[in-house]
Amino acid sequence: MHIPDGYLSPSTCATLGIVMVPIWYRASAKLKETLDISRIPLLAMGAVFSFLIMMFNVPIPDGTTAHAIGATLIAIVLGPWAAAISMSVALVIQALVFGDGGILAIGANTFNMAFIAPFTGYYIYQLIGRNASPGSKRQIIAGAVAGYIAINLAALAASIEFGIQPLLFTAADGTPLYCPYGLNVAIPAMMITHLSIAGIVEGIVTAAALKFIAHHSADMMVNPTKTGEEATPNV
């Protein structure tokens, strides 16, 4: 889901970059308000976890690969705004150091994986798992379902960004300038991949990690009664 440079027009990249600016600003303000110093290492570990989990490419029967992103898990545990920052940092380093995802496309990639994924994941989890006790069956299932849906929504956003390119941007000779595949190809390709495999992996990762966290330190979970407004631990 890491869109490389060259697949999106500069205007698409700029638009999504501009969309991300107020999100980053709000996320920083939110963290400034609510961040507890003792939780700083956890936030950093969340970003590292996401980076590492994205290295586990999983084969897709159509010959491509995909991977989990861990966004929903971070959003559930640390809050969606903290997740937006953590995911963004991981994505920026992936692009800068490892060429995974474009530099120009960083707005698009962070929009998909550091905004759509953590926020939809967080609110779907709240919808199903609100007040579920850590480690309970309902909490684990809520996490899995939220992870599954959220990564698919992020993939859908990416596929739309890919798919609108040939509609909007063609060279003088009519050939596409950027991503050559339209919505009719990009959406099914991305969605089959993520609905069938990557979504399930994301669901399993989210569920397993929630179980692990509940087992070791249930108090780490964000207070579920304060929906996304607070990133303080249950005390």
């Binding site: 869109i3 697949y7 963290l31 290492p41 950093a44 590292v48 290295m55 490419n57 150091v97 991305m190």
Partner: protein
């Protein structure tokens, strides 16, 4: 503190080469050569923008380690370690700056 979580991250680093077993490229992440093969041409805009940035370790590989399978695995693990270290440091820096700004505000208001 957070010993269990460090352990999980360590296990992920060690197991990361499993991610190399999957052959192929993610949809929409083909390089120009791969695209030319399936499409017959490289879109003009892509040709211009595709090489916008030369990363240090493209595709999490360490070219100086060689091309054998073992060196690929070693390179991937090294990438996992380097990436994790940079991301951890960047997160600590950003969050510390945020906390410092907050403290400044609190002091001014007193």
């Amino acid at each position: 503190m957070y010993k269990h979580y460090w352990l999980v991250l360590l296990v992920l680093v060690i197991l990361s080469p499993l991610g190399l077993l999957a052959d192929g490229t993610a949809w929409g992440e083909w390089d120009a050569a791969g695209l030319k093969e399936t499409l017959g041409y490289v879109p003009q805009g892509m040709e211009q923008l595709g090489d916008f940035w030369q990363s240090l370790f493209p595709d999490y590989s360490m070219i100086f380690l060689g091309q054998s399978t073992i060196s690929q695995y070693a390179g991937y693990i090294l990438s996992a370690i380097i990436g994790s270290a940079i991301i951890y440091a960047a997160m600590i820096l950003i969050t510390k700056l945020l906390v410092r700004q907050k403290n400044k505000l609190v002091c001014q208001n007193k």
